[in-house]
């Protein structure tokens, strides 16, 4: 690399929270300043990459609005009046306050609300370690839009993150799929490098690209087939595709038999699985199948059994059907014509796509968390995953373990093995914990890596009911975000160029986010901040050595994939994981479900009416054409100009994309006398949001879109999350953690009128 002699090149990583893109960055440092960033080399040149946000990241580091020193609130909460204090005063105040609150309510009353750490590890791990040592509460942020997917995936596959099983092969050198279905996701903007590039590579090799999305996104613009589905109706679409596949007998019976619980018998009276004890077998709890050779019940592992996949069977009055039979009967209720009415996709396309998927040798389903941000988004995921399973397209060759074990955070937890770990709350459960003390009171909240007020559902409730019920709010951030304004103590953190971290991405590599310059102003890294507080709470011994020690803690964690990888070596560049999961042609995955198989039928959800991936109407999205008070479905796509609410204040990006707009179909706009660039008000019973209209065919009639992440103060009034609701889906709560349903919201839009707020 040719640069002048005064320039040092530091290899680091942009860890922004855009999934796990984790672009390797070469920082050009002159004196104490980074003067340029560029995409760093990788052993495989295909991984050299950067995006427009990463390119603009120096504007974050050197932003004039950076928080420069610790501050304490002097005005009312939210007023934004602060006074500079020293780090000692800030940390002493926090420690004292935490101790007071813990003395009165117990340590679980301290809630660590940690949002997205991006690709980073130690900065997140440091807070988890402190939460664990103090036995306070970790508020999991999966539920701020992301937990619908793990809820569905846990039921179906028994795994939290299903990407490996669905599209892990995109990241290996294996054959391109015949058909690639991108469902409810826009990697073209949200994950352009890690996901969209391999999608385009596959298409170049001949893969047929299908995109299912309510918006005609950048990803859709690359598709061979686009299905403009109504938000929240994906399950009906998947069931109709299964309808066609079953009708034409295109399912993969051998796969279903081997990898799913499809052949297991379900009792018609209880709707629970028939068990060994029901047929007098020794293996009392074992699942039972119908042996088509002996025409009798057999436990599933009995020798020389040929299980029937379909049908109803009765012995001595005990009526049963196979799980697959029950799924088929559900799918029968959704012929393409019916699904067309629900989803808005033509019956002809549904039929043809189903046939194509059924006949293809290999179909890859790519998804993320967009279509699971609806009230029944967990079922949407199950329905799509079930479709993938019955057609044999859940990859049994790419064991879910493509992420190094570090992500279970084990190296950071149980620093003191004698102590139990933290209490846990989902982020949506935090509302109640603060407002009504249920299931236990939370009185102080620490916000890191999250712009809570901006990004969480139902802003007014947060501002008017939640924040006033908190005795103490700490915010660690780079900027005076809408959330930071409500802090009692505000701590300035470093940008990614000012601290070191371990980054276990992109697969199959790991990288070192290497400190390029000393922290600016009085900013400190999260590890340093946690250490300073730990010291004051009596846990300083677990935080010695700063970021480097925590990076080593992971590298020395005896994970076989990290063997031989050292911090020194990583300073030179990315290193491949030492061991990569086996890629045998096919083997039985021990799915972590109750049956150890993919669960087409989940008996644990029978009482909830969700044993099968049933189509249930969205909570708010108006599906039927009946006249409704709020007739428009409001969804929030992702923009390439931001990563959630990060980069919303970067000048060169604002130059290209200056303000929030609401996308509305010309038909809906005309009905409301709205023209392009009019100021309009989007409203429902919760709030009003005023912004500019963009009249576009990019959204279908009945749907409006505002990309998420704009800061509240960038709207004339309201914001996206002023319009969203915080209703908890109890089934998601039962499975894992309730989700926020940002894409399941009903609104009306009118031309803006003065003085009508």
């Amino acid at each position: 690399m040719a640069v002048d002699v005064d320039t040092k090149l530091i290899r680091t990583v942009c860890p922004a929270h855009c999934g796990i893109d984790a672009c390797g960055i070469l920082a050009h440092v002159r004196g104490d300043r980074v003067v340029k960033v560029e995409p760093a080399d990788f052993p495989n040149p295909k991984y050299r990459r950067i995006c427009l946000r990463g390119l603009s990241s120096l504007e974050i580091t050197y932003h004039p609005d950076r928080l420069k020193y610790p501050m304490k609130r002097v005005g009312k909460r939210g007023e934004g009046k602060f006074e500079r204090i020293s780090w000692d005063e800030a940390l002493d105040t926090i420690a004292d306050k935490f101790k007071d609150i813990a003395a009165q309510y117990g340590w679980p009353a301290i809630g660590w609300t940690l949002g997205g750490p991006g690709a980073g590890t130690t900065k997140f791990g440091a807070y988890l370690r402190l939460a664990s040592l103090t036995q306070s509460t970790r508020v999991s942020a999966w539920g701020y839009g992301d937990s619908g997917l793990p809820c569905g995936s846990r039921v179906l596959f028994g795994t939290h993150i299903p990407y490996g099983m669905l599209y892990g092969t995109l990241f290996t050198e294996s054959r391109a799929p015949d058909v690639l279905v991108v469902w409810g996701s826009n990697p073209g903007e949200a994950q352009p490098l890690n996901v969209m590039r391999p999608i385009m590579d596959a298409k170049e090799k001949g893969t047929l690209l299908v995109v299912i999305d309510p918006r005609f996104t950048v990803t859709a613009s690359k598709s061979d087939v686009y299905l403009g589905v109504k938000p929240g109706t994906d399950t009906a679409l998947a069931l109709a595709m299964m309808n066609v596949i079953f009708q034409k007998n295109l399912q993969n019976d051998a796969y279903i038999l081997r990898h799913t619980n499809g052949p297991y018998l379900v009792r018609i009276d209880t709707r629970k699985f028939l068990r060994g004890k029901d047929i007098g077998a020794q293996e009392e709890n074992e699942y039972v199948v119908w042996d088509s050779v002996s025409n009798s019940f057999r436990t599933r592992n009995a020798a020389e059994t040929v299980p029937s996949l379909n049908g109803a069977y009765a012995v001595e009055g005990l009526e049963c059907k196979t799980a697959l039979q029950l799924l088929k009967e559900l799918a029968e209720e959704y012929p393409p014509e019916r699904a067309s009415e629900i989803t808005g996709v033509s019956a002809d396309i549904i039929s043809k796509l189903a046939e194509r998927v059924g006949k293809a040798k290999k179909v890859t389903f790519v998804t993320n968390m967009g279509f699971t941000r609806t009230y029944h988004g967990d079922i949407s995921f199950r329905a799509m995953g079930t479709l993938a399973a019955v057609t044999g397209n859940v990859t049994a060759t790419f064991k879910g373990g493509h992420l190094p074990a570090v992500l279970n955070w084990k190296p950071f937890l149980h620093a003191n093995p004698d102590k139990p770990s933290y209490a846990r709350l989902g982020i949506l459960q935090l509302y109640d914990a603060v407002i009504s003390g249920k299931p236990f009171p939370v009185k102080a909240v620490w916000f890191s890596f999250i712009n809570f007020l901006n990004q969480c559902a139902n802003s007014k409730k947060i501002k008017n009911e939640m924040f006033p019920n908190l005795d103490f709010i700490v915010v660690a951030d780079l900027f005076m975000t809408p959330t930071a304004r409500f802090a009692d103590i505000l701590l300035p953190v470093t940008s990614y160029l000012e601290f070191s971290d371990f980054v276990p991405f992109p697969y199959p590599y790991v990288q070192l986010q290497q400190k390029a310059i000393e922290p600016l102003y009085e900013a400190r890294s999260d590890v340093d901040i946690a250490a300073g507080l730990a010291e004051r709470l009596g846990y300083g011994e677990y935080f010695q050595g700063g970021e480097d020690a925590f990076v080593d803690l992971i590298l020395d964690s005896k994970d076989s994939s990290l063997e031989g990888i050292t911090r020194e070596k990583l300073k030179q560049g990315a290193m491949p994981l030492n061991s990569i999961p086996e890629m045998a042609e096919e083997f039985d995955i021990p799915f972590s479900t109750p049956s150890g198989k993919i669960e087409l039928y989940s008996e644990n959800l029978y009482e909830d009416g969700q044993a099968l991936p049933v189509y249930l109407e969205p909570l708010e999205v108006p599906v039927s054409t009946a006249k409704k008070k709020y007739p428009l479905a409001f969804i929030q796509g992702h923009s390439r100009f931001r990563t959630h609410s990060m980069f919303a204040n970067v000048a060169s990006l604002l130059e290209m994309n200056p303000e929030p707009v609401v996308e509305i179909n010309p038909k809906d706009a005309a009905q409301r006398n709205i023209s392009a660039n009019d100021r309009v008000t989007v409203f429902n019973d919760r709030a009003r949001t005023t912004l500019k209209a963009s009249v576009t065919e990019g959204v279908g009639p009945g749907v409006i879109n505002i990309t998420q992440g704009w800061w509240i103060d960038q709207f004339e009034e309201g914001s996206v999350n002023h319009l969203t609701h915080d209703v908890i889906n109890p089934v998601q709560e039962k499975i894992y953690e309730p989700n926020m349903h940002m894409n399941d919201v009903a609104v009306e839009v009118i031309k803006y009128k003065e003085g009508q707020s």
Binding site: A2, K36, E38, P39, R48, R49, I50, C51, L52, L55, S56, G188, E189, P192, L193, M196, R197, M200, E204, L208, F216, V218, A220, S221, K222, S223, D224, V225, Y226, L227, G228, V345, I349, K352, L353, R356, R640, S652, L653, M656, N665, A676, S694, T696, E697, G698, V699, G700, P701
Partner: protein, 192 residues
């Protein structure tokens, strides 16, 4: 045959992200990015044409075409614009007196006027980089890996092979400028 450095822009892979624009601005410190991304056939960028759900949306990165016979060079009264032997057309900013003749002469709307400095600006194919054996900055920063750089006259180069193997087009061939930038058009949706 002499070198003819140029680019191929693959519209099939361009995702309209504008990373090239940001990259250019960072690398060349221009008033604007010297490569700009338009959305084809619509007034408002990132907007599809057609009627929902029968839509299409294609992106068109626009920049200096590094012509074989560049009208801007011919038009510049003070020889501030230079056609280099190996392909690039560059502008000597020191020399430029801001007369804007070149802006009118260019059929590709590729020159930009920097009001603050009262001078024209344009893409020079990152000649400071290519002289060091590096690729233009927009090429290495392209999210879609949609810009290919190389010697168009070297039949073994990747760019020459793409031109030989794939459908490509040049802008305004009728103008007789001999552009050094080729475009691969987006493929048509294959349907079901």
């Amino acid at each position: 045959m002499k070198k003819r450095l140029g680019l191929i822009i693959d519209q099939e892979r361009c995702i309209g992200c504008e990373a090239c624009t940001v990259a250019c601005k960072i690398e060349n410190r221009g008033a604007k990015g010297w490569i700009r991304v338009k959305t084809l056939n619509v007034a408002q960028k990132d907007t599809p044409e057609g009627r929902f759900p029968d839509l299409k949306m294609h992106f068109f990165p626009q920049l200096c075409q590094h012509c074989e016979r560049p009208p801007c060079v011919e038009a510049c009264p003070i020889e501030a614009l230079i056609k280099h032997e190996d392909g690039p057309v560059s502008l000597d900013k020191e020399k430029c007196d801001g007369c804007q003749t070149c802006l009118d002469a260019c059929p590709y709307d590729a020159l930009i006027f920097n009001n603050e400095m009262d001078k024209a600006e344009k893409c020079n194919l990152c000649s400071h980089r290519i002289n060091q054996g590096l690729e233009p900055f927009c090429v290495i920063c392209c999210e879609g890996q949609a810009i290919y750089f190389g010697d168009l006259n070297d039949s073994n180069s990747r760019v020459a092979k793409i031109i030989a193997d794939r459908e490509t087009f040049q802008l305004h061939p009728d103008e007789g400028t001999g552009p050094g930038i080729y475009y691969c058009p987006p493929s048509s949706p294959r349907g079901l």
